[in-house]
């Protein structure tokens, strides 16, 4: 039976089985013990966590009601701005940057008395699939520390999978929530573009970026999504959640729903992953769903389209790092231009520089039409293809990643080979759709495999319900040797 960890802890707090301070201290001790191995956190905020815990304990002692998220220890990816708490994007260029405002998502959760344990590791500027482009070194997989946690939200996935946080918020530009969730055997939701405010999320590719939850179970992802999916006038692309809170629509019968599988999603996928996804389809059949196979030929262009658009937007977004207003500044220079160049060349890591160069290239005179314009045009084609697919099915089932977690060091050696592993996750970002990754078994090497459920825009309720039904019927979550046991 699938069970919400947040609801269980909430009950424990309300029933006074333990105090919020006791719970928070347990997590802080677990971080002190395990973070040296997992490298999930880059900043631990024990003091503010305990202050919040004390506030929650006082409320409970005073006999006041507490909300579901109050007093629950959690974490944020280090590209989500936190006022007064260093936010580095895991880059040397922002190593000592302290935001003067909160991201809207953190503003919401902070008001709910969420207990922030610290900020978690990520690929530098969210550019990577292994967390290893982080200036602070990569986060490790709690199922096997010789393997990566995935990326770019590797720290959140490592912390949640290793139970040194109950849940966390990550960001997903091309799979950065779903891929590490898949690698670490947990749940990751990338919401519809516009459902969650991006205000205060340090930008990578603004037309693709979206904040979402990483949790151990589907119900927790629904709880967090309901909390953070609010319209925000600080984000000009914000729309908020459409319809009732998704939690109310979990646990609905899925008899008769049509689940689509695009054959192209299974091309080139490793055998054990393909088998696990096909087994998930069988579980759905046993729950009364109908499986519909279809073709999605434009999917083969999704990856180059993604990399062209993401890098083009990144080259523009990262133009702001000039050493003048915030962040690292080079010391010895001739003039302003020399200072900016030296600051950027020393402050950015190799992968970030590669993506800025690629983005500048595809936007430069003579190449714009062949790359950027063509990619935008194909983006339209891919969006239309998905819209058509949703005329014949309710949700789409696909692998999250074509393989299980890479060995440490493997991803950094060959950039193009690593880009190819994002094939199953990028289409969702290109089309602005919601997608959730749920654990669906273990590979031949014993590492977790994830299955992805994709829906049409603003159908989080539908995909999370389908995900919950699968999880409830075939729970593949396995706890690790790390963190605290609850």
């Amino acid at each position: 039976m699938s069970e919400s960890k947040i609801a269980k802890l909430h009950e424990g707090l309300v029933n006074k089985d333990f105090s919020c301070t006791e719970l928070t201290k347990k997590y802080i001790e677990a971080i002190e013990r395990d973070n040296g191995t997992l490298n999930a956190y880059v900043t631990v905020t024990a003091d503010t966590a305990l202050e919040t815990a004390e506030r929650v304990d006082k409320k409970i002692a005073d006999g006041k009601d507490i909300g579901l998220l109050e007093g629950i220890p959690m974490t944020l990816k280090d590209n989500i701005s936190t006022e007064g708490i260093r936010t580095t994007c895991c880059s040397k260029i922002l190593e000592d940057y302290t935001p003067i405002y909160d991201a809207t998502v953190w503003d919401i959760l902070k008001k709910d008395n969420a207990v922030l344990l610290g900020k978690t590791n990520m690929d530098e500027f969210a550019m990577g699939s292994s967390c290893e482009t982080s200036y602070f070194g990569g986060a490790k997989n709690p199922h096997n520390v010789n393997h990566v946690a995935g990326g770019s939200s590797g720290g959140v996935a490592s912390a949640v999978g290793g139970n040194i946080a109950v849940y966390g918020l990550g960001s997903d530009t091309g799979g950065s929530i779903r891929q590490p969730a898949s690698f670490c055997g947990i749940v990751g939701l990338k919401p519809t573009y516009g459902a969650v405010s991006r205000y205060g999320l340090i930008a990578y590719a603004s037309s693709l970026d979206q904040i979402g939850p990483i949790t151990t179970n589907v119900e927790d992802a629904a709880i967090i999504f309901d909390a953070i999916s609010q319209y925000d006038d600080m984000d000009s692309t914000s729309q908020g959640r459409k319809g009732a809170p998704v939690c109310r629509n979990l646990k609905n019968d899925i008899k008769g729903i049509k689940i689509g599988i695009a054959r192209e999603y299974l091309d080139g996928v490793r055998d054990d992953v393909r088998t696990a996804v096909e087994e998930a389809a069988e579980v759905y059949k046993s729950l009364g769903a109908e499986i519909v196979y279809f073709d999605l030929p434009s999917l083969k262009y999704a990856l180059p389209v993604y990399y062209i658009i993401a890098c083009a937007e990144a080259s523009s977004n990262l133009g702001r790092y000039d050493g003048i207003r915030y962040g690292y500044k080079a010391e010895n220079y001739k003039d302003v231009n020399d200072m900016i160049k030296k600051t950027r060349s020393t402050g950015f890591g190799e992968e970030v520089k590669r993506r800025i160069l690629l983005g500048t290239y595809v936007l430069s005179s003579g190449y714009y039409d062949a790359y950027y314009k063509k990619a935008q045009n194909l983006r339209g084609t891919i969006i239309s293809a998905f819209k058509k697919a949703f005329e014949i099915c309710d949700v789409i089932l696909a692998p999250t990643v074509p393989m299980t977690a890479f060995e440490n060091g493997h991803a950094v050696s060959d950039p193009v080979e690593t880009y190819l592993t994002d094939i199953c996750t990028v289409p969702v970002n290109i089309c602005g759709l919601p997608g959730v990754s749920v654990p669906c078994g273990f590979g031949s090497n014993g590492l977790p495999i994830g299955v992805q459920i994709i829906g049409d825009s603003f159908t989080e309720a539908k995909i999370l319900n389908a995900a919950w039904q699968y999880e409830n019927a075939a729970n593949k979550f396995k706890s690790t040797d790390f963190g605290i046991s609850i």
Partner: protein, 93 residues
């Protein structure tokens, strides 16, 4: 195929230095990445116009004066500031 000269030109536009010992590897990596990006040129131009995703439209607000951040706060992340301004080397003589 992308050339060293093109990489150097792009680096100038990106305000990045490329060290002499980095240029060969970078040209090779960029060459591979760009030939990967080239695969989109095999795609037929179906005229699938991309306007925006999820039918988003610009949200405009009334032009009202609202409180903003204090100057001091904004300057606290700058490495060099003077008299309430960001400090840079003089641009003009």
């Amino acid at each position: 195929m992308v050339t060293k000269e093109e990489i150097m030109k792009i680096a100038i536009l990106s305000k990045l230095f490329v060290a002499d010992d980095e240029i060969d590897k970078l040209t090779k990596d960029m060459g591979e990445i760009i030939s990967f990006a080239d695969t989109i040129n095999n795609a037929a131009d179906e005229g699938g116009d991309f306007d925006n995703i999820n039918n988003l439209s610009n949200v405009l607000r009334d032009d009202e004066v609202v409180p903003s951040f204090e100057r001091e706060k904004i300057l606290q992340n700058a490495k060099d500031s003077d008299s309430g301004c960001f400090l840079v080397k003089n641009i003009m003589k």
